[in-house]
Symmetry: C2
Subunit: 677 residues, 2 copies
């Protein structure tokens, strides 16, 4: 009997904590997610091959006007299900995408009189996971004011990380930092890390529709916490039941290239809500844009006004001659004169400057088989834009415009809008106010059959799957910083970090293709910080279904040999593979044209030259291809000799290995065309 | 006039240093080596794509009994030449090896009365460089006592490095450290580094024949200096004109896998000096070895003596039944009883223990189509061995023995030998004394048509090209540490660092293939720290032309399914490619059999599980292959479940991508056999 008593006492002493644990594994048993309730408090952790990569991390919400949803829970039900489907992307970097995961849904009920219910849903893939909160309709919770989301990501070490800081004035337009995790304060996502064990992690979110943007805040040690951009009154999210949050995502790969070919974020978005997608076409454009950035002309009216009827027709003729789909014209509408980025009600979205015949230009474009690409610079005055945008999109639709570039250049940290009493409210670019504004724009654009190219917007969270007219966006430091950056422009490694950070989110309108790398006539202290071959390679590295040839027509006329690659390169791909990947050092991507059997290779490097071996095993076995190679010359060097390019053809097949010799800040761009067999 | 004076003054002030510079580039203009004489002092530096990776570094010698050779030089002549040849390796990891370099020879003459001449020869490849000193025959220098070699390697940053310390008692048998460069004191080579820019460097030497082993000493900041193991009297090298030093080598790659497939060190060795190589055959062996390490039997005589006639015949029968070429017998000769590793004159290399019928066993082996593999444990008493070794090799030759394993287990830091007066001298394992001893052994062995497998020897510097009977060696921490390491054995990452460090030097007799991972009956506190599949994969990862199946016959009999892979796997390859490489994390190597069209894949990981994509593009296009896959089971885990292995067959071709799922400390081994077509 003595023994039995002892055992009972030991059991009682060992179990002061009541823990309820439920684990779900990915289909290949690579990743394991464990949910647990410890004394009524919900936590999760993540393992990979049984080794923890996210330690015990909190879940829950702090609310205003209601008790918090963070403890006192018991488990109502935990259910698991298996999903495996392959869906077809309308356009993108890959046509057929497999959505293969195990789901665990945990339904919790609060102890006590309110008995509120909340669910947490985990979807676990072999290449990562997503989880979100759901609050169903129920008696004791309706309107919700979220004051804080408690979601943690307790990382397991001081991982090397690549990031841009949050809460800075200039939105997402910063150079990436590369520091230990412990050096960060608040960062935007994608937040990409490398562990000491050579594992790559990237935290982001999916399906941000009616919530505030999540940034990551380091709260102690290696633990990050969701941090939501607040409304002006401090509330983070105003919502009501039934509510679902965006998915919090963690992509995981042994190889950094595996992050690039992870489609987890798209998979966590809803299928298309646009039924007739026949009008949605990827395409290429030129436009009146770079000439203003290099000070050759001006957005505003005057003797150097860029957006004149005559100049637009010159671009349209050029576009028609070289097979481009759209011609962007910026600075066409009244409002650019003076201090336009100072929040005032300055822009009229339907009124062209007198020297720009909007209807005539649009008609001229159509007559040439080209379309005008519209431009809406809002100067971050959202109310002004929202008042006009119905008319503005209707006008463009009437004129046969198929795509609009929007802009949200504000003068500081905030977006200004006015409430019903005329009181100005200052809202963050990334808060719920702006997320919902962008959603209104995308739906309005869809109604008018308009494709969107959003600049200075909110980060991509895969919404293009649901709204495939949301083609591309900026939301990073683009080419124009090379025109006037003042800080030396984009250094050579910028576009070599971007594929592993910003571009994991989706298409990026970086506007590559500057072939006159110096523009001393206009801006003698600025330049493109790469070789010419690297500028070509960016068309393969940086996916954008609306892709610009950003240089001036006269510059392309002078460089027709390299321009041929820019004309040829597709913007819609059936397949994407990564051949080499080292974050911030070098990357080689190959993609297959959606509309032919051609493959394209792009390879770029930072300020160091590279010698990389590229097996051509992606080519069809048994076929010969002509490889049209655009490579750095043997003496190319981005500082002294960036124009040294060799364009040559080789016959190749899948059994060959090409040696890619990339000059300092150099690149290589190859088109592989099968020989008829 | 005032201006002209000013210019002259500026010129005089700006050129107080007389500099004579000569630059040589690699054939593809990847690497540039610059030699310069600054006020008579020789220096070199190395750039890659024009960016310095070795800053200005000193060259020269401190001598005893003669003025130093370090300054006061002027240039006699600088000549450059181009070389491109492809040679055939008798056996190895690749059959056809291209030797493609530009050479710069710099002939210097000393100012002053002695007018001594010295040359420095640089050979510059696209994947690295080698340089050496040459002192030709001349009037004023004959006998040379080198007190210090001044060669520096001034690295450009605090590179991440992988290393084992020099000047330790246990020779090269240490676990690798992974630290910043600035943490090192003296290290052995290969010394492998990763720069912040993602460039991989490895410093070593080639053709160490009659010199002292070079270690690297950090003298300040990131500057390393050659540090030679001294003789007992402090002299580093005793030599005479004409003298050439070993090549100092730096291998350089953007990808760590590129270090593995660099053949620079072999290229810097002389072609074979053995004319008739018909008797030199790679092969596999089993032997009486592991049973002593796990304490099942003893080297010394007594009731558990391993090397009995009966036991040897049992191994021979097993070898004959399963197609092995040699049977190693350790502990066969008199000397093992007592404190044998205490330098005493203990071993008799021609006298077997009474219970071991040397001639009978050798004959029995030959009658079964197998050969006895000889064993010479010297206990580091070199004089004792050298007195007997002519007879010992002659005896083995007479008995039809084709391969001998030698051993140099000493009890401390030194090798002991006795000079002509009977005075003991203590010499380092790695000093010139031992380098020259090993050279005498290899030449004697060649005379007797004996292949060598050297344990506790000097590091490999590519001499196998010149002496292809020097098959393999240990010179690293091998499998036996898992039997009795006491420190937990070899941790999971040991064999994942080895391919990028120790194995860059050449074949390694690691003795893989333990299939009973626990041996509790004999040594309950030790185990093999991997899954079973990883143990198989080591046969592809670790190249050795004499490759052991190290476990006991009875253990293989119990595991015939996995043993089949060990029986099948070749030891001589026509081609080697690296599919994945992350130092200390994971590595995947594929190799093609020298004697068939079969390919083999080995993939291993550290204590983390991995999910790796392996394109099969190395296979012949248009052919189908049977892939015999040996992979970790879905629940495999090296700690709890290491035996979980799945053996399965798939039909594959070169267009397919295999997903390799490696368990924690797991692996995968695949044989690809073409289907007749």
């Amino acid at each position: 009997m003595k023994h039995i008593y002892l055992i009972i006492i030991v059991l009682l002493m060992a179990s002061p904590v009541h823990t309820d644990e439920h684990t779900v594994s990915s289909p290949g048993n690579i990743i394991q997610v464990q949910f647990k309730l410890e004394n009524g408090v919900p936590y999760y952790n993540v393992s990979r091959f049984g080794i923890e990569i996210i330690n015990k991390s909190a879940l829950g919400f702090i609310l205003r006007g209601a008790p918090d949803l963070k403890d006192g829970f018991f488990l109502k039900e935990s259910t698991q299900s298996y999903h495996d489907e392959t869906w077809t992307q309308l356009w993108g970097e890959k046509k057929q995408i497999r959505n293969h995961y195990n789901e665990m849904r945990v339904d919790l009920i609060e102890n006590g009189p309110l008995s509120r219910e909340i669910s947490i849903v985990f979807r676990v893939y072999d290449d990562g996971l997503g989880f979100r909160y759901e609050i169903p309709e129920q008696p004791n919770i309706d309107q919700i004011k979220i004051m804080d989301e408690l979601t943690e990501f307790a990382l397991t070490g001081d991982h090397e990380s690549w990031w841009i800081g949050a809460y800075q004035w200039n939105r997402f337009e910063y150079l990436y930092e590369n520091t230990p995790l412990s050096d960060i304060d608040t960062v935007h996502t994608h937040f990409t890390m490398r562990t000491k064990d050579g594992l790559y992690l990237s935290i982001h979110e999916a399906a941000l529709v009616n919530y505030s943007t999540m940034v990551l805040e380091r709260i102690h040690g290696y633990t990050l916490k969701a941090n939501l951009f607040p409304w002006a009154d401090g509330v983070k999210v105003r919502t009501k039941t039934p509510m679902i949050t965006p998915w919090r995502t963690i992509q995981i790969s042994d190889d950094p290239g595996g992050l690039i070919t992870s489609y987890l974020i798209l998979n966590l978005n809803e299928p298309s809500k646009i039924e007739d997608t026949s009008w949605i076409d990827p395409g290429k454009y030129v436009g009146i844009w770079w000439e203003m950035h290099i000070d050759k002309s001006t957005w505003g009216s005057g003797p150097n006004h860029g957006a004149t009827t005559e100049n637009a027709k010159r671009y349209i003729d050029f576009a028609a001659a070289h097979g481009f789909d759209h011609v962007l014209v910026e600075g066409w509408n009244v409002g650019w004169d003076g201090d336009w980025y100072a929040d005032g009600v300055v822009f009229d979205f339907t009124k062209p400057y007198p020297d720009f015949d909007l209807e005539g230009v649009a008609q001229y474009a159509l007559s040439k088989g080209v379309r005008l690409m519209g431009h809406h610079e809002t100067s971050a005055n959202i109310l002004n834009y929202e008042e006009q945008m119905e008319d503005a999109f209707a006008l463009y639709e009437k004129l046969g415009v198929r795509a609009v570039k929007t802009g949200y250049v504000g003068h500081g940290t905030e977006i200004v809008w006015y409430d019903e009493n005329g009181k100005p409210n200052h809202e963050w670019h990334h808060g719920q106010f702006m997320v919902e504004h962008h959603q209104r724009v995308v739906e309005l654009a869809a109604k008018h059959k308009i494709l969107l190219n959003v600049h200075e917007g909110v980060k991509d969270t895969g919404l293009r799957r649901t709204w495939p007219n949301l083609m591309t966006r900026e939301v990073a430091r683009g080419q124009e910083y090379n025109a006037w950056g003042g800080d030396g422009g984009n250094p050579p490694d910028h576009v070599v970090i971007i594929p592993f950070t910003r571009n994991l989110s989706g298409p990026f309108d970086y506007t590559p293709g500057i072939v006159e790398l110096f523009f001393d006539e206009y801006r003698p202290d600025n330049r493109i910080n790469s070789t010419l071959a690297k500028e070509l390679a960016l068309y393969v590295i940086i996916h954008s279904p609306l892709q610009m040839a950003a240089d001036l027509p006269e510059n392309y006329e002078k460089n027709l040999d390299v321009f041929q690659f820019i004309k040829d390169v597709p913007v819609d791909w059936s397949e994407t593979k990564v051949l080499h990947a080292s974050i911030g050092n070098y990357v080689t991507i190959v993609r297959k044209d959606q509309n032919s059997d051609d493959w394209y290779l792009g390879s770029i490097t930072d300020e160091n030259g590279r010698l990389l071996k590229a097996p051509l095993s992606f080519l069809d076995p048994g076929r010969k291809y002509i490889a049209a190679i655009h490579r750095d010359g043997n003496d190319a060097d981005w500082i002294e000799n960036p124009y040294d390019i060799i364009i040559e053809e080789k016959i190749v097949d899948c059994s060959m290995i090409l040696t890619l010799r990339l000059a300092t800040s150099g690149g290589q761009a190859i088109r592989f065309t099968p020989i008829n067999d």
